[in-house]
């Protein structure tokens, strides 16, 4: 059944939605959306390195994103620049360097549009394997660090005072972000991965009054976005990434109606 490219894209998208929901919640709660962007932009560099060294793409992206995250932490410690400036610096320079390197690799044919915005035709059986194994591992690790990560998201000092290890949880979480970017680049593309993380989550925030609900709703939102996005991508021949994100946006707008209702009820 995986012989059909559309089924492959769908199965890939479902796997990614399951991970993007919970990780996206933490990205929103911890205000890390620009951080996610930076990691995603650096992924392009990872792709070029994978091509030039004939190395596994997902592993290469994962390694480069992790290195960029480490560089960021060092720069935060050693410079007086604010975090958003450092994030912008890393995001755009790694994107630029990635594109320049592509320019040099004239002997390889790159589908730049596909890298930036995702390409459902590009998802092969091996990618499905990477996505589902990767997704399972990410969820497993997230489950293990959930308590310290969540507690320190609510309040760092409480978590630390009461014997949890917030710093370790934060470091592991950064690695998980690099991992989801690595597995979802083919479907959503470099420029839109953060959208996959935060738009279904933003929708879920409008509908939930507790964290568990928010995680579940953001998974559902992600799944719906993947279904609607991929079907319209097929129907209207649009790139897969933007179609999925546009679908998520529509869901978000619908969720705003619910907020309006709640406010009216309160008055």
């Amino acid at each position: 059944m995986f012989d059909d490219f559309f089924i492959r894209a769908l199965v890939a998208g479902i796997g990614i939605a399951f991970v993007a929901g919970p990780l996206g919640c933490f990205v929103v709660w911890r205000r890390l959306s620009y951080f996610g962007d930076t990691l995603a932009h650096s992924a392009l560099l990872g792709v070029t390195i994978a091509y030039s060294l004939e190395f596994n793409i997902a592993v290469s992206i994962f390694l480069i994103s992790s290195v960029i995250a480490l560089i960021l932490i060092q720069l935060q410690r050693k410079t007086n620049l604010p975090s958003d400036a450092l994030l912008g610096l890393l995001a755009h320079s790694s994107l630029a360097v990635g594109l320049v390197v592509i320019g040099f690799l004239t002997f390889i044919r790159f589908d730049i549009m596909g890298l930036l915005f995702g390409d459902i035709l590009a998802v092969n059986k091996k990618d499905l394997f990477t996505i589902w194994i990767g997704a399972a591992l990410i969820l497993l690790v997230l489950r293990l660090i959930w308590k310290p990560l969540f507690a320190s998201t609510v309040n760092y000092e409480l978590a630390q005072a009461e014997g949890l290890n917030p710093d370790r949880a934060k470091a592991v979480f950064t690695i998980l972000l690099a991992a989801i970017i690595a597995i979802s680049i083919k479907l959503v593309g470099v420029l839109l991965i953060t959208g996959m993380l935060i738009i279904p989550t933003a929708m879920a925030r409008n509908l939930s009054d507790n964290p568990q609900k928010m995680v579940i709703y953001s998974i559902i939102g992600g799944l719906l976005s993947v279904f609607i996005g991929l079907f319209s991508s097929l129907e209207f021949n649009t790139p897969s990434g933007p179609s999925i994100i546009a679908a998520a946006l529509v869901l978000f707008i619908i969720s705003l109606l619910k907020i309006k209702q709640t406010i009216q009820l309160k008055n």
């Binding site: 609510v154 000092e157 005072a161 014997g163 925030r205 939930s208």
Partner: protein
Amino acid sequence: MSMGNNILVKLNNVGFRQNQKWLVKGVSLQVEKAKIVTLIGPNGSGKSTTAKIALGLLKNIEGEVEKFTNKIGYVPQKISIDWTLPLRVRDFMLLTDKLKEDTMEEALSLTGVVDLKDKSLGNLSGGEFQRVLLARAISKKPELLVLDEPVQGVDFTGEIALYELIKEISEKLNCGILLISHDLHTVMSATDYVVCLNGHVCCSGSPKEVAKNNEYKALFGEQAAQTLSIYEHKHDHIHTSDGDIKKN
């Protein structure tokens, strides 16, 4: 103070410096089981910093902290919770420990907010939130409680009830308490040992001893001294701008 095996946390001559300025320096104290140690002192005297040192929240401290327990409950002075995170009282109660439903309800009843357990944390008043914070800290039956102004924003009658509750918890759970408070009246009556801070330990001892101390009087004024007893003495040192202390 007493038997060594009852000690929960011990601070040996600790200090903390930030931007070349000592926030607190030369503090030694210990908290024992079933005892309440209260830190008093004016704003900026290093009370919260001392509590954070005891909890191990600050890096690069001077001196030494010996901790003999990991079962700790903490009520911080300031807590900022980001409301992008939807959180009910019950979610907050389960933050650092799993609790049974009845344990959670029991703790919330003790601080008088059990009816709020399904409410969103963002909708609570300051006093209600403070009661939830206290309930959360005691619900896990800790051996050491660190309470940094735990009753701020609570109404007057509630304040007295909560201080009574704190004393009761200390006895019932055999739990040591490090308490920070501005409320001299209530605190002095419920405390076993008082440490008066002003960047360093000005004086310490039982509430009665401290009340007799000149520096306590210098810090809190005549009236505060009279609430307990009348005494006299004079300052033997001055505070320099870098937080250092010079003898006269």
